[in-house]
């Protein structure tokens, strides 16, 4: 049995100050009350319709709730300060890298990457090579997945520069917690997260190509059958902008318009929540009905801004991820604040040999995979599974990277009768606009609800928690 860092009790079992109020609250609240509150939370989520769609499993109930845990996860002001600095630094470097990869390729000249490494990448978007994007920003909304292993040990697990989702859960989780436990918020000074939609809108508006006009921003969704549709509509609503589908937009004379009851209206900024491949059938997949014909030409002409920029997914790849610390040194001349998980690129022969020798202690992931699928968690797999995976690995080594299994921190989580330690990760959201970087204090905490499980993905039995960033480092008493 390994020892995990518990965010409430540390490694030594002593209550950490950030959790003082939570511990007291848990001690004085009977489990029945927590159970009642948990059920009430579920009713609230369902009534508001915060669901995600599951179609693969068949059955009539295609709209699911992501399980919500009512015990918040707490970070104190210092911890958050460290994360905030680290996130700003990392996203700045990622944006510099993307601008460089689609521009002069200084990083290739410096010998960190080869041209081939970039050009042959599936998420590399050749249509973006040499296109000047507004403000030199590719990933305006980035979700950086973090895990923790000790008091000051935060690792970046994954960068999501393409179209990260989950922010609506951050906001709704908080809203539900405030409704269920107002007395708890009165006791603890928690930094609010509710300004995220305004921050997002300010970020998007800063990208508008029209200086002389009120910018018209829309959210572009694939439609109500998309698994993240709730989030798309939620964000459009919170920002007070139109939620458009491809069929609502049209391009005339290299400008984008939306079809309104009063005729066509010019659109300046599109927060697109559809994948690159579906954006414009004239440039990408010709069979796509989700996008807008002519959109890319309007974009290249600078008549409309897209957030995030097409091709931003290049930075999400695990084979690129390995080199982010070098990028930070190269572009910013700084030492990385957030750690990278050591990663073996199986494309490299020496690394492959090491990985095959140490399968029982490593996590092996597909380079392009996401959602926790197609991975091997060595320590949890039996020999048969490992041998089968080794075969796949030898057949196509460049499709895989391997990392050590991290001792993910745990947080108290309501497990039916009492609070029990469960593993968590954290996805904060970083907004980069032409007028600066904005990070709302908090993020989406995902929790593996099964005892001992390290997989937090909602598609595989994970849940979410409200994430509290304290105004202070103590128990919040006397905080504003």
């Amino acid at each position: 049995m390994r020892n995990f860092f518990d965010e409430m009790h540390g490694a030594d079992g002593e209550l950490r100050p950030a959790y003082a109020a939570i511990a007291q609250w848990l001690a004085e609240t009977p489990p029945e009350v927590l159970q009642t509150k948990r059920e009430e939370a579920e009713r609230l989520f369902r009534r508001v319709g915060i669901t995600f769609a599951v179609y693969s499993e068949g059955g009539s109930d295609t709209e699911r709730l992501i399980p919500f845990d009512i015990i918040p996860r707490v970070l104190d002001a210092d911890e958050w300060g460290l994360l905030e600095r680290g996130l700003k630094q990392r996203v700045a470097a990622l944006n510099r890298f993307l601008t460089d990869a689609y521009g002069p390729r200084e990083i290739v000249k410096a010998g960190i990457f080869s041209n081939e490494h970039i050009d042959t990448h599936p998420a590399y978007c050749k249509q973006m090579q040499g296109v000047a994007v507004p403000g030199g920003i590719y990933t305006h909304i980035a979700g950086i997945d973090l895990v923790r292993t000790g008091v000051n040990d935060f690792y970046v697990l994954e960068d999501n520069c393409r179209t990260p989702s989950g922010v609506s859960y951050m906001l709704e989780n908080r809203a539900v917690m405030m409704r269920l436990f107002p007395e708890l918020f009165a006791r603890v000074g928690v930094a609010p997260v509710a300004r995220y939609p305004q921050d997002l809108l300010a970020t998007l508006r800063s990208l508008s190509p029209a200086d002389d006009e009120e910018p018209c921003v829309v959210v572009l969704t694939p439609g109500q059958y998309n698994s993240a549709y709730y989030e798309h509509s939620f964000l459009a609503d919170e920002m007070g902008v139109e939620l458009a589908e491809g069929q609502d937009l049209l391009v005339v004379g290299k400008h984008v318009y939306m079809r309104t009851t009063a005729g066509p209206k010019r659109v300046h900024v599109i927060y697109r929540r559809i994948d690159d491949d579906f954006l414009d059938p004239l440039v990408f997949r010709p069979d796509s009905a989700l996008g807008v014909p002519g959109l890319m030409e309007a974009y290249r002409e600078g008549h409309v801004a897209l957030a995030n920029a097409p091709g931003a997914g290049l930075a999400d790849d695990k084979a690129i991820y390995m080199h982010v610390p070098e990028m930070i040194r190269f572009y910013l001349g700084e030492e990385p604040i957030l750690k990278n998980v050591p990663t073996w690129d199986c494309a490299n022969e020496g690394a492959l040999a090491y990985v095959l020798d140490h399968l029982e202690e490593l996590v092996v992931k597909e380079t392009r995979g996401s959602g926790g699928y197609g991975m091997l968690v060595g320590p949890h797999a039996n020999k048969k599974t490992r041998d089968a995976f080794a075969k796949k690995l030898r057949r196509n080594p460049s499709a895989y990277v391997a990392q050590p299994t991290l001792a993910l921190s745990t947080c108290p989580t309501f497990a039916g009768e009492e609070a029990a330690a469960r593993h968590v990760d954290l996805r904060p959201f970083v907004l980069s606009g032409a007028n600066g970087v904005r990070i709302v204090p908090g993020g989406l905490t995902r929790v593996a609800l099964q005892d001992g499980s390290l997989v937090v993905n909602s598609s595989q039995g994970g849940g979410t928690k409200d994430t509290w960033v304290l105004h202070t480092n103590g128990n919040g008493k006397g905080a504003r």
Binding site: G223, E242, L243, D248, T260, T261
Partner: protein, 310 residues
């Protein structure tokens, strides 16, 4: 606003209005049990809902139970349950145009509709289920009336509800029109006629209103006048078209004065209803008049769509 949003709101309101009308139609048919020919009563209810032909494809004979189930649930695409599902699809497609109260009314109704089982449509439980349906429709109306900003979205919702209601009133009257014609042989004022006219009134929840307006026994021309021409009756064609022209005028205002064929049509129908006389309508033929109204309601819907929803 987006054309697609206008379309979704318009249809959302129509579906939520339609379930109310369907529930009343079923209640009216039920109230005739034991009074007149049940088969005839239910056939007229099915016809008013526009699903009599579909019904005949699915069943060989009409029984109150199978007709009621068909109108509530089952394979019928315009059933109450399917209307609720369609309302939610439209609501979900344009959630951002709905207030939270509106969405919660529709979504909650949909969630509740999904746990309904066969027994909820059985004769013993059906009245309770229909109460729930009418409450759902009322909750939705209350939600938009009390929470929506008076912007284009609001006028499209009201427009959809008013047009749907006009269509339903015309249909209900039309399938019962033969009852409204004075019949010499069967003895006007007989017990049977009294029940049947009352059932028409019940279908538009106007039994009490009739007494307040006319203070005399139920007479066919009064019933027709009340449901076609009286401005005090919220379900009369006159009231509905007053609302329709109001909504269209508001939309024209917010669209820089832009008007279309729908404005001309609605204005013309509203004027006819405003200055019409029930004796003239009976002279032209009640059935003929109502058929024209049903056709024009469909045409008006198309014209609204032409101007705003493409």
């Amino acid at each position: 606003m987006l054309s697609r949003a206008a379309d979704a709101l318009f249809w959302l309101a129509r579906y939520m209005e339609r379930i109310d009308n369907l529930a009343r139609l079923i209640e009216a048919a039920q109230s005739m049990a034991g009074v007149s020919s049940e088969a005839e009563e239910w056939r007229s209810a099915l016809a008013a809902a526009g699903v009599d032909e579909l019904y005949d494809e699915a069943y060989s004979e009409i029984t109150p139970d199978s007709a009621a189930r068909f109108l509530c649930n089952g394979t019928n695409p315009s059933s109450i349950i399917n209307c609720i599902a369609n309302a939610r699809i439209n609501a979900r497609a344009m959630r951002t145009s709905l207030t939270r109260d509106m969405w919660e009314a529709v979504n909650q109704g949909w969630i509740e509709s999904r746990v309904l089982q066969e027994r909820h449509f059985s004769p013993a439980v059906l009245p309770e289920t229909l109460d729930w349906v009418r409450q759902l429709s009322t909750r939705f109306t209350g939600a938009y009336e009390t929470t929506m900003l008076r912007s284009d979205s609001y006028w499209f919702v009201r427009l959809g509800a008013a047009l749907e209601r006009a269509d339903n009133t015309a249909r209900i009257l039309d399938v019962k029109y033969h009852l409204l014609l004075p019949r010499e042989s069967s003895g006007v004022g007989g017990m049977l006629d009294y029940y049947q006219w009352t059932s028409v009134l019940r279908a538009v929840s106007a039994v009490r209103a009739y007494q307040w307006l006319y203070r005399e026994e139920v007479k066919p021309w009064n019933v027709a006048e009340m449901m076609i021409l009286r401005p005090e009756m919220p379900r009369s064609l006159r009231s509905c078209y007053d609302t329709i022209t109001l909504c269209l005028d508001e939309l024209a205002k917010s669209h820089g004065g832009r008007r279309g064929e729908c404005h001309r049509m609605a204005g013309s129908i509203a004027a006819e209803l405003r200055f019409g006389r029930i004796s003239d309508i009976f002279q032209t033929g009640l059935h003929e008049t109502l058929t024209v109204h049903i056709d024009r309601a469909r045409e008006l819907g198309d014209q609204i769509s032409n101007l705003y929803m493409r």
